[in-house]
Amino acid sequence: MTRMWKVAIAAAALTFPALPASAAGTLDQVKSKGFIQCGVSQGIIGYSAPNDKGEWSGFDVDYCRALAAAIFNDPNKVKFTPLSTKDRFTALQSGEVDILSRNTTWTLDRDTKLGLNFVGTTYYDGQGFMVKKSMKINSALELSGASVCTQTGTTTELNLADYFRNNKMKYEVVAFATVDETIKAYESGRCDVLTTDASQLYSTRLKLASPDDHVILPEIISKEPLGPVVRHGDDQWFDIAKWTFFAMLDAEELGVSSKNVEEMKKSTNPEIRRLLGVEGSLGEGLGLTNDWIVRIVSKVGNYGEVFDRNLGAGSKLKIDRGYNRLWTKGGIQYAPPVR
């Protein structure tokens, strides 16, 4: 009898269940592993693309670097996971990445049902079409009967269906999982039209063998507010992500850039003093240090600098800032104040 008891106890000891550790907040997890895992695109020049050495750069990449600068005071403490449009939300939901900075359109459906939160609109975009110049097409309304290449699992795919149905045009959609395949198919003549967000069209055109043979049609058929995304249910991480973006906008608005940030610390303007943490303890409220914006701006730059370097005049793309100008300059980029 006693032997049977011992067996039972031994069996129970062997099967002692390993209780799942309680989920810590994303900030704590990021701090303990020492880097941010950032989901980016698989290669859209200007947004996120690796160079020959595998170093990532671009507008979306710089946002993640700003986040790393705010937390670690080191813009390189971030690792990038290239994700296709098809896989991106699953990767974020599951915790494979801490933040998704992958020119993702903000929609109600995604914000609610997917268990995600959109941080803000870092880039106001709209969907456009690109065709070969030789086809002599001037308007998207002439595209009836065309076959259209797009990426699967995007809002683009949905807008496309809406647009052609609204205008009673027929079309054939060819949807690919990755950017490279989409471009290759368009280039080989599989499709007449390539459609995606207008800014991406400009960057895609650079990947073609002879960019000048292709034109982008004037129609913009949708609103595409692009921004970073975090998981639902972690307010602290959401706040940090949100305010990192706002801080970059506010820094530009107040004229604080990576070049003058040290001098600006001596400024007497109370707004600038609050922004740079010389006054108050706003950073600590986020769970960061008070000089977090100084870190962002000195290591990565303000919104304008980042835009310029990756997409604007300082880049190969030379995209006009358009809607993405600050509200003070006729655009719609407007950030809540740091105070």
Partner: protein
């Protein structure tokens, strides 16, 4: 003194030779032109060769561009653009592995090749040591060289209950986390003691159990120690690995782990214990029933959803586990085929000699069963090697992935870039797979020599 009536004075004229049965002509008559149907087949085959071979040769050699350093060199050519491969060669082999550190994969390649050659060539001695080196030591050495070693170990067992890490404040010595090692030593002593008492309580040999546990823990400790030690190598994260390196890492790990797992599963499927059998059958049928890409997708993007927050497993490792489990299920079916072919008399004879289950399997059944299914096993290895290409669907860049990424480089956009890339990748994959299948035929001939007589 002869009375021979007739003596031939001159040499008889030569008779016409029979239709050649030997030599080239005879061979041709027999094998190529033995009937109208045969002739028609020969003509058709020749036409097919004439259709395929010359364009291939022209593409690979005669019309190919061999020198040059930009796309301009290849723009007018109709053959392969080899400078494109030359320019991208580093990426195709190492991916984004830092250029300054590429000697490390080189050493691993060389080491692996030497050890493997020692294992595969029958005449080389020290097979036993060689296999211990290859299967036991080499993976750890490769891991340290490729990844950089100096893993950060946090807690073993006791450390989960008592916050040792906080007490020692993460002190390190030669890269060794002291809190972990304190934890490890204390936990090991405890485990050994528990093993002793549990075994005694169950009526078994407690000292044997304690010794076995201690040996296991010392082995584990040695491995962990090497992994934790700081050799001063720059860490290279797996995201930066790519190209042929990833292809080989995934396939070699898959090959090395899938065979033992497959054998266990096959034994489980033929076990007398109902629960073991049911689990094995479910496991095998599940993995064989779903496509590998769903498995990879699950392992790569969904697994973290089922793990406690904060626990992360390296992306490459997850894909590796997926591939290994997948091929283990296929391996199990191949091994089972071999087991079924072994007559029951063999097992019964072994039992009559007093051998236990594992001894019977290890010394009598498995050697015969595995020798029977060598072609199947190698076929599985080849399948696994080819299946490594699927990791590109979950954004790991193996050889095919790197080739595909290189296609979209506008600075090498020429009419033949695409075909050159395919030609190169095709040749590389073919060499590996064909080599494996030829080697298996060689082994088969050797092992069946006794049976053939």
């Amino acid at each position: 003194m002869s009375d021979i009536a007739f003596v031939r004075k001159e040499i008889a004229p030569m008779a016409p030779p029979p239709l050649a049965v030997g030599g080239i002509l005879g061979w041709m008559r027999k094998n190529l032109f033995s009937g109208w149907f045969n002739i028609a087949m020969t003509v058709m085959s020749l036409a097919l060769i004439a259709l395929i071979l010359p364009p291939l040769l022209r593409f690979f050699f005669f019309d190919a561009v061999w020198a040059g350093d930009s796309r301009e060199a290849c723009l007018g050519a109709s053959g392969a653009c080899w400078p494109f491969i030359k320019a991208k060669f580093g990426q195709l082999v190492y991916g984004f592995y830092p250029i300054a550190e590429r000697w490390r994969p080189d050493i691993v390649f060389a080491l692996g090749a030497i050890l493997l050659a020692g294992l595969l060539i029958p005449r080389v001695p020290f097979k036993r040591w060689n296999s211990i080196l290859f299967f036991g030591v080499f993976p750890i050495v490769a891991l340290i060289f490729l990844g950089g070693g100096n893993f950060s170990l946090n807690q073993f067992i006791i450390g989960r209950i008592i916050p040792l890490a906080a007490m020692l404040q993460g002190a390190e010595l030669f890269g060794l986390t002291l809190s972990f090692w304190l934890d490890f030593v204390v936990s090991s002593v405890l485990i050994t003691a528990v093993a002793y008492f549990v075994a005694n309580a169950l009526g078994a040999d407690g000292r044997f159990a304690a010794r076995a546990a201690a040996a296991l823990l010392i082995g584990l400790g040695a491995v962990l120690l090497t992994l934790d030690f700081d050799f001063g190598l720059v860490p290279v994260e797996t995201r930066q690995w790519g190209g042929l390196l990833v292809t080989l890492v995934v396939s070699v790990t898959g090959i090395v782990t899938s065979l033992p797992l497959g054998i266990l599963l096959a034994l489980g499927r033929r076990s007398h214990l109902p629960i073991v059998r049911v689990f094995s059958v479910c496991f095998i049928e599940f993995w064989r029933g779903v496509p590998l890409i769903t498995v990879l997708f699950f392992a790569t993007y969904m697994l973290p959803l089922f793990l406690p927050g904060g626990l992360t497993i390296d992306g490459l490792l997850r894909a590796l586990i997926g591939v290994a489990l997948f091929s283990a299920a296929y391996m199990a079916e191949v091994v089972r085929g071999g087991l079924q072919a072994i007559p029951k008399g063999q097992t019964e004879a072994a039992n009559a000699l007093g051998l236990g289950y594992w001894q019977t399997m290890n010394k009598v059944v498995m050697p015969q069963a595995l020798a029977l299914v060598i072609p199947g096993i190698v076929g599985n290895f080849i399948g696994l090697f080819k299946d490594t290409t699927l990791v590109l669907i979950v954004a790991l860049f193996d050889l095919l992935g790197q080739i595909r990424a290189a296609f979209s480089d506008p600075s090498w956009a020429t009419p033949t870039t695409l075909f050159t890339g395919f030609a190169f990748a095709g040749v590389v994959y073919f060499i590996f797979c064909f080599g494996m299948s030829r080697y298996s035929m060689f082994v088969e001939r050797r092992t069946s020599a006794g049976r053939r007589r």
